[in-house]
Symmetry: C2
Subunit: 229 residues, 2 copies
């Protein structure tokens, strides 16, 4: 009976890894879609999100079935409950990638991102994708050091986000209000996407160590996470 249990638990873990892979790919492709004004790619990202949603529903159903059938306690129980939370983080990340793609579609054949912000948005998109790739790796390896790295990557995302805002606020901004609105929302989508990737990694840290990632980072003397807005 315990063996079936661990098989089922593994398969929930596999589902999370697959979700992380899908949403990481989605944010990368959504970024390409918005920078290249690629409608076809945007549509593919938008349509693809239903697969993430299906995976989440499936994963939740299996987690609940597992709770009912096996009635785990202590660490095992914590793993299942945490899996439910991580699947919510990943599902929401998929929504955010979809939002980026929807903005690309809304502005097609124009691009929502002016030329002088292409490199910043590209960096944000790539960093978001890397963060999610690392979160997926943390899910597989349970590597606490790698998980703690994600918080520093998230600091880099905050810096990019701030750079984006500074550019917007610059007196020389000449792209008008609509583009300012688009870029503001875009910045927020990437920032939130990164937050969810960090959240997944933090939850793994908590499962492995029983301590919250913030406490471990303080011990390690790592820089604070900066102000979240």
């Amino acid at each position: 009976m315990r063996d079936a249990y661990h098989e089922e638990l593994d398969s929930i873990g596999d589902g999370l890894v697959e979700m992380a892979r899908l949403v990481g790919s989605a944010i990368g492709r959504a970024t390409t879609a918005i920078l290249d004004a690629d409608l076809k790619l945007a549509e593919a990202v938008i349509a693809g999100d239903s697969k993430v949603d299906d995976l989440q529903r499936d994963l939740e159903a299996r987690a609940i079935a597992l709770l009912a059938r096996q009635q785990p306690v202590a660490t095992d129980l914590r793993i299942v409950v945490t899996s439910l939370r991580m699947s919510a983080d990943l599902e929401r990340s998929g929504d955010l990638a979809q939002h980026v793609a929807k903005l690309a579609r809304l502005r097609f054949p124009d691009t929502a991102v002016p030329r002088d912000l292409h490199s910043t948005v590209l960096e944000m998109g790539q960093l978001a994708q890397r963060l999610m790739a690392k979160a997926g790796e943390v899910l597989i390896t349970k590597d606490v050091d790698l998980a703690l790295q994600l918080e520093q990557d998230d600091d880099a995302m905050d810096l990019l986000h701030r750079a984006l805002f500074q550019h917007l606020m610059d007196d020389r901004w000449q792209h008008g209000i609509e583009t300012a609105v688009d870029v503001t929302l875009l910045g927020r989508y990437y920032e939130r996407f990164a937050d969810h990737a960090v959240s997944v990694a933090k939850r793994v840290v908590y499962l492995v160590t029983g301590e919250h990632a913030d406490e471990l980072n303080q011990t390690a003397g790592a820089p604070g996470a900066g102000e979240s807005s």
Copy 2:
């Protein structure tokens, strides 16, 4: 044994109702703070969010303890798992109210909202507060009809959000980019806050009827939720 169980379950329900009350009050006060440029009120909302976070942590710990000790199955299990999700919705709503308050603090002694948008933002704030009040009532009464109302209120929020954007995009906009960015984020905060209130109500519907709220609304011929952005 079953009695202790139902007492504990009730107390989790009470915790959710209390969270809904706190975040509903927070969004109302944050709205006042940003419209009146009231720094003291903004600080109070910002500081008050830790109470919501504490409640969530407490509620989660009790839910997990309940799962471990009582090992509920079927409906009871679904109630506990759903409570965990609702507490996450409510915690996030608290964050969003805090974001509104932080924006008020950032722009103090100015106000982030120009005069000609005061009434729209006031309406969004009031609607957000009402949505959360209804969500709290749904938690208490399990009233499915009331829960379905929330989706229509959310449509009203979408309309306000669109009106806000139209105002921003208007050629006569004269408040500059910084204010456009502030108003864009503000609109997003209210919209997301409303989404979480609706989500809480939907989860209650699912617990009571075993059907998703969308399906029930379709049966009732209610208008669709509109495009979420």
